[in-house]
């Protein structure tokens, strides 16, 4: 009896395995490369500002308050889709939003921002893409959440959607503020 049911059991196990694969694939982006930087200090950078190229902004200047670093480019179509979400949903969160104009011509970036509006507190430019490589950027848009100590807490690969803001970004920001509240209480 057991021997006769064995092929059926193996078949069902296989169905289960493949079904799990389908389920997993529909809930995960398979091309996403998880960042090894999470929980580690953000790579140091010093980059010129888009609107004042003679001035620079470095990672050290940003210590003390958490911020979001949004990698974008005027050449990037998905960044256009993400743009209204940055303006409508990220900006109201009150967290500092830094734009990293990646592998782009400053003039093109200025035109892009002039056309769609500027959701960023500061825009810095990484023309040759070296800082992007340091951050492990491989597409745009990508967004990093970096805490007050300069530690990378979260990375979003691809555009923000209302769903992943609600399910991923907001809990991560809440963690940061509760950790800070604990420190103050101590």
């Amino acid at each position: 009896m057991v021997n006769r049911l064995l092929p059926l059991a193996i078949f069902l196990a296989l169905v289960g395995l493949l079904g799990f694969g389908i389920y997993w694939n529909t809930h995960h982006e398979m091309t996403e490369v998880p960042s090894p930087l999470i929980g580690k200090p953000a790579p140091p950078f010093t980059l010129p500002l888009l609107y004042e190229p003679e001035k620079t902004l470095s990672g050290k200047d940003l210590l003390g308050k958490p911020y979001l670093l949004n990698v974008f480019g005027s050449w990037c179509p998905t960044c256009q889709y993400e743009h209204p979400i940055l303006t409508g949903q990220i900006k109201p969160l009150g967290i500092k939003l830094i734009g990293l104009d990646w592998k782009d011509e400053p003039d093109d970036a200025k035109r892009w921002i002039a056309q769609f509006g500027n959701p960023y507190d500061v825009v810095i430019t990484d023309r040759d893409g070296r800082s992007g490589i340091d951050f492990g950027v491989y597409m745009a848009p990508e967004t990093f959440l970096i805490d007050a100590e300069g530690i990378v807490r979260y990375k979003r690969i691809g555009m923000f959607t209302p769903e992943n803001i609600r399910d991923e970004l907001l809990p991560k920001i809440a963690e940061l503020t509760s950790a800070k509240a604990k420190q103050v209480a101590r």
Binding site: P34, P36, D134
Partner: protein, 219 residues
């Protein structure tokens, strides 16, 4: 002039047959056309598809003949178009004009780039990919080579930014043991299952001891 080109096309067709793209017609079909004195005429190729008893010059073309002509025209089209496609295709290797100081350095670079994955088109290596980021990463690898970094240092640099995924060969560590060992585990399971089946069959066959079956060659 025309004869030459027909021969060329026919040669091309034959090589297509040889490569298995088109099913070959029996060799006698060709000699049939030649026996009928149609060698070198433009429809000589077509003739292979027509029935062996009919001569194309004396008979009005039956449907099968016209069908054959269409087929051969299609074959000729492919014969002409395929080499063009290959000619127009970009070279397999994305080439940046990197100023290598000697051949050894270039070989080292190519070898290294083959072990690294392009993050954009994720099933291509850095040497092959034409993505913009791959270009930047090749430049980065090149610059690090120039500043005297070893292959391992360059790989570590990229792994620190892009994860182990950037390496084509997953590193051997506790997290990847399942990946490295599971094939052997499955082979062992297979051996175990086969051994069990053989043993039970041997017992059913009556009185033959397992040791005999395993050393014998009844499978």
């Amino acid at each position: 002039m025309r004869m030459v080109s027909v021969r060329a096309i026919r040669g091309r067709l034959l090589s297509l047959f040889a490569s298995g793209l088109v099913a070959p017609s029996p060799p006698s079909a060709l000699s049939m056309g030649e026996r009928a004195g149609v060698r070198g005429k433009w429809w000589a190729v077509t003739h292979r598809f027509s029935s062996a008893t009919r001569h194309p010059l004396t008979q009005p073309s039956p449907p099968s003949y016209r069908w054959g002509r269409g087929l051969s025209l299609a074959a000729c089209f492919f014969a002409v178009a395929m080499p063009l496609v290959f000619l127009c295709a970009p070279p397999a290797h994305a080439i940046d004009p990197l100023p290598f100081k000697d051949r050894a350095e270039e070989v080292r670079f190519q070898k290294l780039a083959k072990q690294l994955r392009c993050l954009v088109c994720q099933n291509q290596d850095l040497a092959d990919s034409d993505a913009d980021l791959a270009k930047d990463l090749r430049k980065q690898v090149y610059d690090m080579m120039q500043s005297g970094k070893s292959d391992d240092e360059i790989k570590d640099y990229l792994v620190a930014r892009y994860n182990d995924f950037v390496l084509y060969d997953p590193p051997f560590k506790p997290g990847t043991w399942l990946l490295w060992f599971s094939p052997f585990a499955f082979v062992l399971i297979g051996v175990f299952v086969v051994a069990r089946i053989l043993r039970s069959r041997a017992q059913q066959a009556g009185g033959v001891r397992p040791a005999d079956t395993e050393s014998g060659d009844d499978w």
